[in-house]
C-alpha cells in the first residue's frame, strides 16, 4: 500500500491517490484497487497523481491493463494533477486517447459521475 496515499469514493467515482515513484509496484497497487472495486460493481476511477511526478513505462503499462478491463464493462478512468512529463509520457503511450486528464478534481467527479 506504500504506493497509494489513499482511496476514497465520491459520487460513485473511486478516487485513487498515488504517491512516490510510479513503477510496477505502484501500477499493481492501482490495479489491485480497481479489480477489487470492479468486483463490487464500480466502474469509474479517478487517479490523482499529484505525488507521483516520476513514472516508468512498466508502471504505466499496468494502466493499459486497467483500461482494457474497463472497456469490457463500459467503465472509465481519468487523471488529475499530472506533472507535465507524466502527461507527455501518457500522450506518447496513447493513454490519453482512452482517458481524460482533468484540470481539477471537482470537474473530474462532475464529468465522471
Amino acid at each position: 500500500m506504500s504506493s497509494l496515499k489513499n482511496v476514497e469514493e465520491k459520487h460513485d467515482v473511486i478516487v485513487v491517490r498515488t504517491t512516490g515513484y510510479f513503477n510496477n509496484e505502484a501500477g499493481d497497487a492501482v490495479l489491485g484497487v480497481c479489480n477489487e472495486k470492479m468486483e463490487n460493481g464500480k466502474s469509474k476511477f479517478l487517479i490523482d497523481m499529484e505525488d507521483s511526478t516520476v513514472v516508468n513505462s512498466i508502471g504505466v503499462s499496468v494502466l493499459i491493463e486497467i483500461i482494457e478491463q474497463l472497456q469490457e464493462i463500459d467503465g472509465a478512468m481519468a487523471f488529475i494533477n499530472l506533472a507535465p512529463i507524466v502527461e507527455k509520457t501518457f500522450n506518447i503511450m496513447g493513454i490519453t486517447k482512452y482517458c481524460t486528464v482533468y484540470a481539477s478534481e471537482d470537474e473530474a467527479i462532475e464529468k465522471l459521475s
Binding site: 516508468n56 493499459i64 506533472a83 512529463i85 509520457t89 506518447i92 503511450m93
Partner: protein, 153 residues
C-alpha cells in the same frame, strides 16, 4: 597543411577542455535508475537546461536503465556516462548483457497493446521521442545507447 592540422588539433584540445564527464556504475537493485536521475538533474542544472528538458532526460534515462538491466538479461552492473559540452548533453548507458536486435523490436501502439497480453515494451519509443538523437550499438557482448539533448533547439 601542417598549420591546418595544428589548428585542428588546437581546436580539438580546446573543445575537449570545455567538456565535463560524469560517470556512474549502477548495480542491479530495485529502482536504482532513480540514482541516475538525481545525477542527471544536477548536470542539467549545471548546464542551465529548462525544467522540461531536464524532465525529458530523466524519463529517457529511466527507460534506458530499465532496458539495460531487463532486456540485456544481465544482472551485471551498468555504466552511465554524462558528457557535457557547451551545446549538448550526451548520455551513454552501457550494459554488458547479451545484446538485442533492434530491427526485431516492434514499435508499440496502444490499440495493439490493448488486445495483447503483453502491455510492456515502450522504452525505445519513449527514449526516441524524448531525446533529440539516439543511437544504439549492440552485440553479444553488450549494448550502448547514446542519447543526446541539445541545449538549444
Amino acid at each position: 597543411m601542417k598549420s591546418n592540422l595544428k589548428n585542428l588539433i588546437n581546436k580539438l584540445v580546446i573543445d575537449m577542455s570545455k567538456r565535463s564527464i560524469v560517470e556512474l556504475k549502477l548495480p542491479a537493485i530495485p529502482d536504482i535508475e532513480l540514482a541516475a536521475t538525481k545525477t542527471s538533474e544536477i548536470v542539467a542544472k549545471h548546464m542551465k537546461l529548462s525544467e522540461e528538458k531536464s524532465a525529458e532526460i530523466n524519463m529517457a534515462l529511466i527507460e534506458a536503465c530499465i532496458n539495460a538491466f531487463e532486456h540485456s538479461k544481465s544482472k551485471k552492473d551498468i555504466y552511465i556516462k554524462f558528457i557535457v559540452d557547451e551545446e549538448s548533453l550526451t548520455i551513454k548507458v552501457i550494459d554488458k548483457g547479451v545484446g538485442f536486435d533492434k530491427s526485431k523490436v516492434k514499435i508499440p501502439n496502444i490499440e495493439k497493446k490493448l488486445k495483447n497480453k503483453r502491455k510492456r515494451g515502450w522504452g525505445l519509443k519513449l527514449i526516441n521521442e524524448l531525446m533529440d538523437s539516439v543511437e544504439w550499438e549492440s552485440s553479444e557482448k553488450g549494448t550502448t545507447v547514446t542519447m543526446k539533448k541539445m541545449k538549444k533547439l
